[in-house]
Subunit: 571 residues, 2 copies
């Protein structure tokens, strides 16, 4: 059973769960009618099923290679990228002025999830370009926009993000790449960057790097960082390509997964670049890009969870083992209670994570369309949850998918192990999930918990309204929200940041659990007596109870974490 | 920081926690004095640190290969196996009559864990031989014992287990390999076996296969299965090697991990074999072997958890990132609360799983030494918990170890990813963890929950005794045990097996959680004010609360698992 993009689930989410009608009601997104959305999801689904998904195995078996300083991509990837570009998928949310479709981010996110489930290694290439398009739209000069955006949106050129250096990972402020003003409107960039996803390829005419660097005399830390656009080939004013820039791919990393996606060490030797945004304004520009990239990485986890589920289900429906134990069963392992438990978990978790991500995307769209502070803080609050929970679900479901396969799960030919390898990095890049959780309990709670409380109010109001239809489920969601509220109050009251950080990861997960319960309950109401009600019942009665233990953990403080000395940790 | 075998932790466990003094007080194990045990652990630790651990990376980078029908092992593996054999480690628990040391299984298990943490791919070779030694000791004729056991114990020959066939995995009774009586005391074995760990090697003079097969007219299912010993070379009576037998390695699997361990497809074409145990008595013989193998696989998970912890700790102590955030901190990421949370989790979980495994090994030793039914049922009850929890901890801690490494975690050179790949199969082979859990709630509860209740009585009695010293911790363990008891009563009362199976995995995990709390509480009492008390506090107050949510899940019944039709699962 080949991969099938979850088109119907998105139609359901958009129509019944996450309030896309509010987005469509804004002037900015008035063109995103129901018909348009259906047609676009359908078309994206076809692309993912027919063109992108068949590239997943070849990318793993034939990794990208560095040959004479040039990256040679996996078989079929050039054609795959071209198909994505020609379909206009690079610019779904991009400005129509430069060739984009101008559709809601909710749509772009849905397509990104589908593409991630189809072939995560390849999907990273458009994702990087999309991030660059967005950063340039918000922060670049008109001249840069006019020159670069049409090429990036059409896919003639591709984009990358260059943040990390060996000594500057999570602490990006420690970076030491230098920029010097050439006095002619250009800058000279020198330094080494690592972990550069799709740092080069053999299908784009040009590769455009957004590079964080430090101007002479700039203050230490993130405040002193500026952002530069540094292309592989220096473009002429008409967009034709001029001289080769002095930057190169030094090596590719040998990674656990994502073999089709070249992860480059990049060397810049007085490479020519242009400032994007103001001097010392690099971090603000990167944050624009990173926030949506966090949603994008969350979608990657969800895409792999979906693909791993489909793969495991297909195996379970086919694999005969043991007697035909159920009178009307299929005679395969899908009839076994524990296999069902795993498949139901995979299906229920994937829906929960997807619904959270779609809610986050809608909040970003509403924030962009209306400029309202409440939408902005909703988006800011949901982003770290979407990233961390989406990728945790991706990792856990890929792992469960291997388990459903039994011994075949660790034999590479079946593909179950590839999901497990490919998805692993998603909880690390674009800010580790620990950093997402710290962001949630620190920066996203500087409002005294207001954004959290508004969300919990909505969940409880909805649960009360659902009580007549589903007393048990509604009550479980309501009670869980109360427990979450107490924990939130406790966290907000802690002035010592370590005390909050010590409980950050379990708190984030508990919040996602409760959100998942809420979004399943909504689905049950929209599909009374149908499969979504049944799936909601499984989630709310079996998986939601996890929140209580997590919230005890979240309120345990930091002292015991540091009770052991370094020597005692080693012993 | 290279791998260091956890010698001190085992000395502590044996002296203070799991009651090895009872084992030593039996006649059978009277020679296992405290001095002997210390010396042996020390010696095994040295072997693991100095000889075995350096083979871990070469095994991954240079996988075992099949060349002209012969398996060529990874660089250094032949010397490594020789060192293990010469140290006498193959026969720690084997009968001294044939060259074994006759020590408790608790000792063998400790050494197996250490060796697994050092190099899991290589450790599988001695583990397979040990399983064969045990099966032959219990079930083979004297002639076979005298011919084979000294060679297997000395490591001149190696052993394998041949159960699985393509259509017969978890359902071993579906196997179709045939045995025919040659009328001269030998049998002709024909068929194909898959997933044969260390099915061949280039360092043993002979490879001896224990093969499950079916005699003509044997009943269907497991009842009709017999066990045969089928050597690669047919030995003469004096132990010298005669003709090559008609069996061969057809191919090696391309696996996610354990590249140094050849996983073979074996073909038997009228290969000559000898019956082990009575005709149709194959499953009974295999069960002897499998029970201890389950303990052994649990130890593998724990070994990887330990190694992944040490690896992650070493990285965290070295990696500078961000400001020096703690006044007396080391200035590396080990000072960050969330990194500490991960490291403390790894250390606390590894101890819990190790203490459970050691308790299981002691119960097996006591059962063997005394023949008492209570020890036998204790051993039987703890075996599936040890296997499933030990391997789950291994997988989860390897995954957490990758996370501690950040971006470096998915770069293969660091080794963190290798643990993640190598350990993954352990929750699958030797009976999937789902099957372990089903065994626990079905076969191991046929006593109406008596074995479970005796264990819980002990836990509660101990918690009451600990209340003066540690009121909070003791109370948490006592309360958790009560919740577990209610769930146990509920499960035992369910006659419908699907209802039990539907909650089997969460129930097993909750039981392990409570056992872990108990064994941490014991450690705290033995080390008041010391690091073990601090670690216990972390485990009992942060991780133990998970049990409650799991036990809700465990008592949810099977109906909702089967609520979705196959079509609805696909949709």
């Amino acid at each position: 059973m080949p991969y099938r993009a979850p088109v119907e689930d998105y139609n359901f989410l958009f129509n019944h769960i996450v309030g896309l009608e509010d987005v469509r009601a804004t002037e900015k997104f008035a063109e995103a009618t129901d018909d348009v959305i259906r047609a676009i999801l359908e078309e994206a689904g076809k692309l993912c099923n027919d063109i992108v998904a068949p590239l997943q195995r070849p990318g793993d078996l034939h990794p990208a290679k560095l040959e004479n300083g040039v990256v040679r991509t996996s078989p079929g990837f050039a054609e795959g990228f071209k198909a994505i570009a020609e379909g206009g998928w690079l610019g779904i949310s991009a400005d129509p002025e430069y060739g984009g479709m101008g559709l809601p981010l909710a749509m772009a996110s849905a397509v990104n999830e589908m593409m991630s489930g189809a072939c995560l290694s390849l999907q990273l290439a458009p994702l990087m370009s999309q991030g660059q398009i967005e950063a340039l739209e918000h922060h670049a000069s008109d001249a840069i926009k006019e020159l670069y955006l049409p090429k990036l949106i059409s896919g003639e050129w591709t984009g990358t993000m260059n943040l990390t250096e060996p000594q500057a990972g999570s602490d990006v402020g420690a970076l030491s790449t230098k920029a010097e003003d050439n006095g002619d409107g250009t800058f000279s960039i020198s330094g080494q960057k690592i972990y550069i996803t799709w740092g080069d390829n053999d299908f784009g005419d040009n590769v455009c790097h957004l590079v964080l660097a430090r101007l002479p005399g700039a203050p230490a830390g993130t405040k002193g960082i500026s952002l530069f656009l540094v292309p592989k080939f220096l473009p002429n004013e008409d967009g034709s390509l001029g001289a080769r820039n002095t930057l190169q791919v030094v090596s590719l990393e040998h990674k656990l997964g994502l073999h089709g996606s070249p992860t480059c060490v990049m060397q810049y030797d007085k490479a020519v670049g242009w400032l994007v945004g103001p001097e010392q304004g690099g971090m603000a520009a990167m944050f624009t890009m990173m926030n949506n990239a966090r949603l994008g990485v969350g979608e990657q986890g969800i895409g792999i969870a979906e693909a791993a589920y489909q793969h495991a289900l297909s195996y379970a429906l086919d694999r005969k083992q043991g007697k035909n134990i159920r009178p009307n069963g299929s005679g395969t392992i899908v009839d076994h209670a524990d296999v069902r438990r795993m498949l139901m978990t995979m299906k229920a978790e994937t829906y929960a994570a997807r619904a959270i991500a779609a809610s986050c995307a809608v909040a970003i769209d509403m924030s962009n369309a209306t400029g309202e502070a409440e939408w902005k803080s909703r988006a800011a609050f949901l982003t770290p949850i979407t990233k961390a929970f989406g990728t945790d679900v991706g990792i856990d479901m890929a792992q469960m998918g291997v388990q459903v396969h039994g011994g075949m799960g660790v034999i590479e030919e079946t593909g179950a192990a590839q999901f497990y390898r490919d998805v692993r990095v998603t909880s690390i890049y674009e800010g580790t999930n620990g950093i997402q959780a710290m962001d949630l309990v620190a920066r996203k709670m500087m409002d005294g918990g207001e954004a959290a409380n508004r969300l919990m109010d909505e969940i409880e109001t909805h649960a009360e309204a659902a009580r007549d239809a589903f007393p048990n489920m509604a009550d479980a969601v309501w009670q869980a929200t109360e427990t979450l509220r107490e924990a939130t109050e406790w966290l907000v009251a802690q002035d010592d940041m370590d005390t909050r950080f010590a409980g950050a990861v379990p708190y984030l997960r508990a919040f996602a659990r409760v959100l998942g319960g809420h979004l399943h309950l909504k689905a049950a109401l929209a599909d009374k007596g149908g499969p979504r009600e049944k799936l909601a019942r499984f989630y709310i009665l079996r998986l939601l109870p996890e929140h209580a233990g997590l919230l005890v953990h979240a309120q345990s403080g930091a002292a015991d974490l540091f009770a052991l000395t370094t020597d005692e940790l080693i012993a």
